[in-house]
Symmetry: C2
Subunit: 471 residues, 2 copies
């Protein structure tokens, strides 16, 4: 495996080393940009303009944004520039150009969650996570497209359009946070907020070749996040590196500086050594050959870095059952959350979306009560299986990006729902490109955010910028 | 109000001062008994025999017990006697004769929760609360009758018989923990465990003239307690004084000595002075005149003791809505909990019980999802209303005990479900007898267990022993 690892790595390094954004402001990402601000090489106003200009130029064909907040972004960037000029930034996020998923309230902006019934709803206030980012000086560029109601993994939204995959037009960016992941991958924001109920941050991160992190349940508040399932919803982050994810996550944690400082630093490789990590046995899982190969490479890199690995058998049925319960609970809670609008304007919800929610009406209250209990019991069992390990490594999605026109036979969320059911943090990270140049992805599921982010940093094979977005 | 208070108090003191059990072992209650053990005036064997003898003699007509554990109780009492003889009791509960509600698992004993389908189910282990009591040296006398499945407030059980009210034969002891409250009132145990989902400890405590405490949610584990609603179920305690309740509660808390010590001591009157207490405005509530009058007397005593009082208006609709949600959630969770037995042997559940559970099947999963959310929102609102106060004083039940043969037009749990929805501790305590000699009851709902127990101790008007059980 070590030999294979070196072969893979050298091939990949050779192939992608130069694949970066030509504009250093864009290339810098989140952490790099604050360094440029500190060095007075770039101002937040320049960065904001660079991103707004790219959005105008590139987004019409991509479809990552549903709303751009150009004026308020410019105003925020000006205030940030004044602070940096005085050497008094509010935080390492001051002046960071951030995109926000359309189900998270941004005061004064549309807050529709990709649902036509709410197209004209304007958020009266910021969600707490957004308010914290503003307090940290972040510049909110706009709101990103998503799968209708967050209930799906394709982001082919019948009301707000498709988000194309930056790596291949007419291919899905994944979902439900498809717009956020695509915007990060295409360099249309430095980093982005998403939400993850059954995998909605990690799936599009996988398909778009970026990092996506679903935090520990309860770490980030979900107030003013239009609910899909309030018992499983998490706010998550998308970035072009594990460090960018950690930095944005720390900003979302707000006024808990100690916690924020800890999360802003993914666990170092040194601190990961000594623990034992589980590698999911993929035997019996229905997984695309390219993803499987990338996962073997990932395990090889982990071994090559001196991490202690053990194969763990968790039956596909465990993942399937967690997913069945998560989907049913989401159906019931989505139906409850949107009951008024569903009753008043059923025609403003797509048939596909209503079809997903229908189990919430069709099944009984007792069935839901049982589902909550079964989920809790299953989670307790799985936690026990995971207890000997510091983390579990597994693929993020069973396949890379797929065309909009093809019904994909594999379930994008087959391997992501587990972390939502467990309430544990999980990070998706790139593991190279397939033979036909689509990003592949690995996932680290750990007991704490620093460990999963640390594994992502240590084990990723970043894939650089998609060809059409480099310039 | 002060004048009235003195008139009431002197009348009541005159009337009931001598109404005690003639046997000092029985009269001692829980705390008194351990003093008798320490003084070597009585041994645990004598106490156990005294209680077992009363059970044989008096319970056939009362119906408080469904199963007596005479042999294991005697064996436990012998071991306890040896410890006391050596001056090495395990705890202040060592040798305490305790009764346990039939939905709480006692190893080797029937564990049927008043449901015919489980008549022959024998508990394979102790519920944690029972195990902790045994570790403290308690003597488990037996299991008490209850409303079928804990889903009701009458304890007229179609499979296991009626529990009569010790104050009046053919009157209900209340429920669902009717057997436990009746056993405490009739001197057939020193104290008892019950369970409280919508009021099941406090309602029968009210009707039987004893103290009943529902602890803070989560304080006591509910494992191996046959679920009615696992999101609202609490294990609670019945005793003949607030101190007895506190002592039994502390024993149930087990190996957390600091917490146990704090709970074993209800807040003193001195420590209660200085805080402000809310007195529920009963305007608009449908409450029996005798209970209303007793509540006025209770408020008068509180003022007379120098407590700062303020009238609080919480609309009857708030209580009704909390109750509607609690009943529906209980229906769904009860249906889920008993699904297998319901499917296999529907004839072993009464029509009345199935009628209560039917909403769990009839209503949708989405309706239940909405109910959980509405309950959480309502609880948050009420907590805000209660925030300025150290506790809320209110009646326990809208009426005293009622005959089995009469459908009571008032809802016994109308005023108790609030505490379950809030997850806050509440203590029911006697407030005298009605003109026709039925116990009346007040309720203290507080932010911590010590305060509600302290108020119960300070404000109760104990009613002594029912006439037919004094000898």
């Amino acid at each position: 495996m070590t030999l294979r690892y070196w072969r893979d790595l050298s091939a990949i390094l050779h192939q992608y080393a130069q694949m970066t954004f030509s504009n250093p402001i864009i290339e810098a990402g989140l952490a790099g940009l604050s360094q440029l601000y500190a060095d007075r090489a770039v101002t937040p106003v320049e960065a904001c303009e660079a991103y707004l200009s790219r959005i105008s130029r590139l987004d019409p064909a991509l479809g990552a944004y549903v709303h751009v907040e150009a004026d308020t972004a410019r105003a925020a960037a000006h205030r940030s520039a004044e602070r940096w000029a005085k050497g008094e930034p509010l935080s390492p996020l001051d002046g960071a150009p951030i995109a926000v998923k359309a189900n998270i309230a941004v005061e004064g902006a549309p807050w529709h969650a990709g649902i036509e019934a709410y197209r004209h709803r304007i958020a009266e206030g910021d969600a707490t996570v957004v308010a914290r980012l503003r307090e940290a000086g972040a510049v909110i560029l706009g709101l990103t497209n998503m799968h209708e109601g967050a209930f799906g993994a394709v982001t082919d939204n019948p009301w707000f359009g498709r988000t194309h995959n930056p790596w291949r037009h007419d291919y899905s960016a994944g979902g439900s946070s498809g717009g956020s992941a695509a915007a990060v991958a295409a360099g249309l924001c430095a980093a982005a907020l998403g939400s993850d109920t059954l995998g909605s941050v990690r799936i599009p991160s996988s398909l778009c070749g970026v990092f996506g992190h679903k935090p520990t349940q309860g770490l980030l508040p979900t107030d003013a996040v239009a609910p899909m399932s309030w018992t499983l919803d998490h706010v998550g982050v998308h970035g072009r590196s594990a460090d960018d994810c950690a930095r944005l996550l720390a900003g979302c944690c707000g006024a808990e500086p100690e916690l924020a400082a800890e999360i802003a630093e993914p666990a170092s490789l040194d601190s990961l050594r000594g623990a034992t990590f589980a590698v999911l046995d993929l035997d019996g899982f229905d997984i695309d050959a390219a993803e499987k190969e990338a996962f073997v490479g990932l395990a090889g890199r982990a071994a090559g870095l001196g991490l202690e690995l053990e194969t763990l058998t968790l039956m596909p049925a465990v993942f399937a059952e967690m997913r069945r319960l998560g989907v049913f609970i989401s159906a019931a809670e989505s139906t409850a959350a949107h009951a008024e609008a569903l009753a008043a304007t059923p025609e403003l919800f797509s048939e596909a979306y209503k079809g997903r929610m229908i189990e919430g009406e069709r099944q009984s209250a007792a069935a839901l009560a049982r589902a909550y209990r079964e989920l809790a019991e299953l989670a307790a069992d799985v936690r026990e299986r995971l207890a000997p390990f510091a983390a579990l490594l597994l693929p993020t999605t069973p396949m890379p990006a797929f065309p909009f026109t093809e019904a994909h036979k594999l379930t994008p969320g087959a391997l992501t729902t587990l972390a939502n059911g467990l309430g544990l943090p999980a990070t998706a990270f790139p593991t190279g490109l397939s033979d036909d140049d689509l990003p592949l992805s690995g996932q680290a599921l750990a007991w704490d955010d620093e460990t999963s982010l640390g594994l992502a940093r240590a084990l990723a094979l970043p894939v650089g910028a998609p060809l059409s977005f480099r310039g």
